[in-house]
């Protein structure tokens, strides 16, 4: 009871706070943590669902009208939640360390970018492109299928590999996709190389809806589907087979699990989520180039999965939220603040910050602080923020 009241009050107060101080990052953080609180608190399911629906379906878009950047942050969080959930299947459940996951994201993004922009004319020598904007929606499925197929293609040669070897091959695969995207502007111009592809068509939206709100809801919808699919897979013989494979591959096979099929399915499922989000990403950004799909992005998504807790759906969601918000808001805000101090010439312990050498620019601390947080997490909470809990279940008589 007290939890329920606290959850309602938390959401209401924090959203009112954002409405009053639309430019305060701190208060927006409080609002974000209220959503996380609702997600984790011990409250009745109906209350949880209705609070989440209110917060994400009504309050968040409303906040977006005060400060558009917040909606952008929320959309990015959604994209990364889907990516983290996809990678969680491969790494967390099936135990296959994939260091090139962003390649599938790239495959999805380029599949819409090529057909949804005038670039398709160069590739196919016609004037049919860009495809009419409504094709975006079928392409969500097409991007999913292409990414899943790519997952199988990657899976086939690496089926016999485990652990470190698998990690190296997937790392290489991720780089191959990026280098291909970078260099396939000749002899046939498929990806337009480092210049990237633009303008990419955006989907038609219901009347009067702004693109920011439209993409927010689209991402939210996809994330909900991804969570549902994830939960159903996990709580089935397929999910159990993946986990068994992670625990002991040889015993899993001896218990009748066909390793080849189980692994390919894991790769395909993980890849398909990234593929869908790739299509959305391409349309949202209008412009994509290989820079968006670097090794660092793969590592970033992996960090979300590990930080949240491997093999745990809430863990992947919270890991993705924390890391994205940390990168987009907290660390950015911190370095902006430090920069202001420096420009104002504030003295700390008798040292004028304006004299800081350029090597110590506050902006350069962002990655360092992020790294320190990761290291501390791994030392003090190696199982992650929200580790996988075993399902307790009554056995039927």
């Amino acid at each position: 009871m007290i939890h329920s009241a606290a959850a309602v009050a938390f959401v209401a107060l924090s959203s009112a706070g954002v409405a009053m101080f639309p430019r305060s990052i701190l208060i927006f953080l409080v609002f974000q943590s209220s959503v996380v609180f609702v997600y984790l608190a011990r409250i009745p399911t109906w209350l949880r669902l209705s609070l989440l629906a209110t917060a994400l379906g009504v309050l968040m878009p409303a906040i977006g009208t005060y400060n558009g950047y917040y909606l952008e942050v929320a959309t990015q969080v959604g994209i990364f939640v889907a990516l983290a959930l996809g990678l969680n299947i491969v790494v967390g459940l099936a135990g296959l360390l994939d260091l090139g996951y962003v390649a599938f994201f790239a495959v999805g993004a380029y599949s819409w970018a090529i057909f949804g922009s005038p670039h398709g004319n160069i590739l196919f020598g016609s004037t049919a492109f860009p495809l009419p904007a409504w094709w975006f929606y079928p392409f969500l499925v097409f991007g999913l299928a292409v990414a899943a197929a790519t997952g199988v293609v990657l899976g086939l040669p690496v089926l016999r590999l485990r652990g470190d070897y698998l990690a190296i091959v997937t790392l290489g695969f991720g780089e191959v996709i990026r280098v291909l995207a970078n260099n396939l502007d000749k002899p046939i111009n498929v990806t337009n190389g480092p210049k990237g592809i633009t303008p990419i068509a955006r989907p038609p939206l219901p009347a009067d809806m702004s693109y920011a709100i439209g993409f927010y809801f689209l991402v939210l919808l996809i994330v909900l589907v991804v969570i549902l699919v994830n939960r159903r897979l996990e709580d089935s013989h397929i999910g159990r087979a993946w986990e068994a494979m992670r625990e002991d591959q040889l015993a899993a096979q001896a218990m009748g699990i066909p390793l080849v099929r189980a692994k390919l399915l894991a790769f395909a499922c993980g890849a398909s989520f990234a593929g869908v989000m790739g299509v959305v990403f391409a349309a949202k950004q209008i412009f994509i180039n290989p820079e968006s799909f670097t090794f660092l992005e793969s590592i970033g998504v992996l960090a979300m999965v590990i930080l949240g807790g491997m093999g745990s759906i809430p863990g992947a969601i919270i890991g993705a939220t924390v890391v994205t918000v940390l990168n987009l808001q907290v660390l950015k805000g911190l370095s902006l603040w430090l920069n202001e101090l420096k420009n104002a010439g504030v003295t700390v312990l008798g040292y004028n910050l304006a004299n800081l050498p350029t090597q110590l620019e506050p902006a350069k601390y962002e990655r360092m602080i992020f790294g320190i947080i990761l290291v501390l997490m791994m030392i003090f909470r190696p199982q992650g923020i929200f580790p996988a809990r075993r399902r307790q279940r009554e056995l039927g008589k």
Partner: protein, 260 residues
């Protein structure tokens, strides 16, 4: 020749080492044991039976179907399941989940059923959990169904491995030293359980065992391996008296002393 399970002329070499030399072994019903000193090739033989190793020579047949060349999961699906000498449970999964994984080969559902939660999915999944309860009951672990396998005491882990193997609905069960690390009392209880399984489920069991007292009491037939060769086979009493067996276990001089 044996109709249920028959291995003929199995030879397996690892580089210059011959681990198994022309071993023939089979079982129709009941409990057949394989004994022998350490390094005699008993576990290697199991690995050949279950598809982990491909023998250099010889053939294995289960219900008339050749097994050599099949993958371990295919062999399990046919109805041959095993346990491991060093327990290999899925350590971070619960006891019930371990048993459920054992049923994998019997689940006839596609990805679509799982995603749309079709009525057949709910029926099958409910049936699996019920059956897991029964199997855990059988080995006396129902109360620990929701405990993570790695937290179970050693004896429980052994019995859980047995339940997991039974979950695949085997016609032939291969048990690799199931009483290792157990007290004599626990071992006797387990053997009583095995006898009951043979009687109630009509399955056949091949047992690798070190505990002689247990072997001689429970087995219908015993085969003895030494240096990769089968040196004796027959009812427990005959094998016990076989001078080559005594020699393999105690050494030539001790055997001579025992004989004189």
């Amino acid at each position: 020749m044996n109709g249920l399970f028959a291995a003929r002329g199995i030879t397996k070499r690892f580089g210059g080492l011959t681990a198994l030399q022309n071993v023939t072994f089979g079982v129709d019903a009941g409990i057949a044991s394989i004994i022998g000193p350490n390094g005699a090739g008993k576990t290697t033989l199991f690995n050949v039976f279950t598809g982990l190793y491909v023998p250099d020579e010889g053939e294995v047949a289960f219900k008339g179907q050749p097994l050599v060349g099949l993958r371990p999961d295919e062999i399990t699906a046919l109805g041959v399941c095993r346990t491991f000498q060093n327990i290999r449970l899925f350590a971070n999964m619960t006891a019930a989940e371990n048993v459920l994984v054992g049923m994998h080969a019997r689940v006839r559902l596609g990805v679509r059923d799982v995603l749309v939660r079709s009525s057949s999915f709910r029926d099958v999944e409910g049936g699996l959990w019920r059956r897991a309860g029964e199997l855990l009951d059988r080995v006396g672990l129902r109360a620990k169904a929701n405990e993570v396998a790695r937290n179970l005491p050693y004896g429980d882990q052994r019995r859980l491995e047995l339940a997991r193997a039974l979950a695949s609905d085997p016609a032939l069960l291969l048990l690799d030293e199931p009483t290792a690390g157990m007290t004599q009392g626990e071992a006797v209880t387990l053997m009583t359980l095995l006898r009951r399984l043979v009687g109630e489920l009509g399955i056949a069991i091949i047992l690798i065992e070190h505990n002689m007292r247990v072997v001689m009491e429970v087995s219908d037939r015993v085969a003895v391996l030494d240096h990769g060769e089968k040196i004796a086979e027959g009812p427990p009493r005959d094998v016990q008296a076989n001078p080559r067996v005594v020699e393999a276990y105690l050494g030539r001089r001790a055997a001579a002393r025992a004989g004189s």
